[in-house]
Subunit: 174 residues, 2 copies
DNA sequence: CATGCGAGTTCACTGACTGAACCACTGCTG
DNA sequence: CAGCAGTGGTTCAGTCAGTGAACTCGCATG
């Protein structure tokens, strides 16, 4: 858990990455940060993660330079992805693609589009309409055909992230 | 650990994927399978993973259809990636890319090439020489500029996987 | 001053991981 | 055919990390 090597293989960048984001909950926290979640309480309610674990993960991610911790405009604390954190998008996307392919028979659970022209993104993150590799802030996520509305979450945070929205745009308090 | 949801969010393919490959050690086992490791003992010695954990992970991955378990030609048991398992390559590659980018200042630890023409692969898996998206069995992995020979591993399995080789090609006993 | 809220911390409990030792089966080998 | 080594596990006690509920702290508001 602490910095000094949790995995032995010093020559493997996969192992090195997993030391940072490979623990339980960590990538879901990062995913929520992409979805615009910034507040401690919002992470906690949406993920139903024990607060002690959340506190530890957030501290570690800040220490690793994946998130920043600042006092937000509204007075509370805000956690946001750094540039290094945003670079985790291909990782998140690859994992989502695999889950959609093998565990979502009725189609992707969340569709990913280029917000400028509405084009779907392929597996490499390229817009099928304009052909460009879409930068993360221009990506829109919305429920796809495999999305199950019966399970869309009753808390306001889940409702917000299940509404079509751009990545990184902050979810707004009710 | 068992199948019934370890994460709450039923509408997230990321969570679903992490239920399969998100536990400690699991992706390193898969990585080794890409590198041609097939035998129980070889996984154990290269990863220095407790044998009980390895046994549990292998059983689970077989159950999930990521690996197959067969009696090999040489008489022992062989674990191999299924087509579904091979589809995890983009995940492994994305994680390695991020680790190389942020934790390997002197360059990638392992270079990934198209074995047919020697072209380097970009982040989307496309060959810079011939321009095609390279299928996994045609990918060659070799030590890159960030590779540290002082730490290249003394056991025969590590030596084998630190030698340039095609993915999925079985490592041969000494 | 009471109330409430956000952001954590504390704590007892449980479950998972660790490492070492042990077991079972196979195929030799003398 | 007894002994032995190799492979593929299982068992077990000790430790460590995750869980969930309750609690604390600081700050703003009424």
């Amino acid at each position: 858990m602490t910095l000094p090597s949790t995995y032995a293989d010093r020559n493997c960048s996969l192992a090195r990455t997993l030391e940072v984001v490979g623990e339980r909950w960590t990538l879901l926290i990062v995913r929520n940060a992409f979805y615009g979640v910034r507040r401690f309480g919002d992470f906690a309610t949406q993920l139903k993660i024990p607060r002690a674990v959340l506190a530890g993960r957030l501290k570690f991610l800040v220490q690793e330079g994946v998130l920043t911790r600042d006092d937000g405009a509204a007075g509370g604390v805000e956690y946001r992805l750094t540039a290094k954190g945003v670079e985790l998008w291909p990782v998140v996307r690859a994992l989502m693609n695999w889950g959609d392919a093998f565990y979502s028979p009725s189609g992707v659970r969340r569709a990913v589009r280029h917000d400028e022209d509405g084009g779907l993104l392929d597996h490499e993150g390229r817009c099928e309409t304009c052909g460009s590799v879409v930068p993360v802030p221009e990506i829109r996520v919305e429920p796809g055909p495999g999305f199950d509305p019966a399970d869309s979450g009753l808390d306001p945070v889940s409702s917000a992230i299940n509404t079509p929205r751009r990545l990184l745009e902050p979810i707004t308090a009710p």
